[in-house]
Symmetry: C2
Subunit: 234 residues, 2 copies
């Protein structure tokens, strides 16, 4: 299964905010140029007021938690999951399934800042890459992946239980699941158009990390992975 | 269902470390006395070497993330979940199901520091409490809850799928689930003795937040909650 966190609220500080006093102060504390800082509502709330679509931006914690759920899952340990992060400003982060992300939030943010600065982690050398960045929009990413079926999960989709939805995915050669990596609002129209189906799994908003955890677990269940992993001794 | 994060790696700075240079430096930066700081391996790694059982301690992120999974779940929104955090140094944190925890890690840690200082959040007044602290060990907490059945999830338990395990819980009047709130190692013997059953749901270690997310979701499924919440319009 391929998981895409779409339109995720993680991005380098937008240029229009570099001169904002709160951003300058924060950058000075961090001893970095604002361009090498990740936008974070916890610290840049006042500066963000002038940004377009600001309610969908500046929440790197969502990507952090959602990736921890994805990478720590048995599905990933079996080599059956590939995760990508598509960002609100149209970057795509490829995540090596073997990456062990920092559990500490500050360290995760520093890592993402390095990634935006150098384009890959580790920043230099021919070692195996753990994270890789490119400028790419969601349509281009999907063209590259060529999914056989794309499911988007969204509160404004057709109501169906996750169990019923995911059972169909397991019959697909290359299923892709789109989960919004943002705190409020919905997928843009262009993202919705890329999906074969948009499904709503609960009547209330669920957080991205919860949706990621549940969709992965349902997929494991549909493959009988929990039972197999307990009986095969690996 | 009652969820207990047991022997969780969250505690105020132990007195023996107050004078450690790294802790003193960190406390100065935070402008707090070391006693009002939460032990965190990300910042106090070198100081922690002399602590007993140090591999199970200093990971407040585990409680943070596990509680976010619990509080954001549909089960909790239905009023069917109560979460408690039992800590490695025998405090118990009662968590109001309506609490909205900070998503930002630094803010969560500051909140827990306030909780250890004042014993409740908010620290003063007769407002509804969101978090409340007391000195209590796991046995005392269980005596208070009086579970009809206690399930502990642990890698060294009897192998069984979560689905099979949880389906039994739904027949219980007051089921309690114990999940370890620590990064490595196993429940202490005294914790294990409090469980009616110790079950292993995967052959590899799963992180506490993943176990919490999955056990809650399975419980919802066993109650047909996903379907009910989509059809009843609440």
């Amino acid at each position: 299964m391929t998981l895409i966190l779409a339109e995720s609220a993680i991005e380098p500080m937008p240029e229009q905010l570099w001169k904002h006093p709160a951003v300058q102060k924060y950058a000075k504390q961090r001893r970095k140029h604002p361009r090498f800082i990740v936008l974070d509502r916890s610290y840049h709330h006042s500066a963000m007021k002038t940004l377009t679509l600001n309610e969908k931006r500046g929440r790197p914690d969502i990507v952090h938690f959602a990736l921890l759920e994805a990478l720590g899952s048995p599905l990933n340990k079996e080599g059956l999951l590939q995760a990508h992060v598509h960002t609100v400003s149209d970057y795509v982060i490829w995540v090596n399934p073997e990456t062990r992300l920092p559990r500490n939030y500050g360290r995760f943010v520093s890592l993402i800042e390095q990634l935006f600065e150098f384009g890959q982690i580790p920043p230099e050398g021919d070692e195996k890459q753990l994270l890789a960045l490119k400028k790419q929009n969601l349509t281009q990413l999907m063209d590259e992946i060529k999914p056989s079926y794309t499911l988007a999960l969204s509160r404004i989709g057709r109501p169906e239980t996750l169990e019923a939805t995911v059972s169909k995915l397991t019959r697909e050669k290359k299923p892709v699941v789109l989960v919004g990596g943002f705190p409020h609002g919905h997928f843009s129209e262009s993202a919705t158009k890329l999906a074969d189906e948009v499904v709503c799994i609960d009547r209330e908003m669920l957080e991205a990390w919860t949706v990621v955890s549940r969709v992965i677990y349902e997929y494991e269940r549909a493959l009988s992975l929990p039972r197999k992993r307990l009986t095969d001794k690996g």
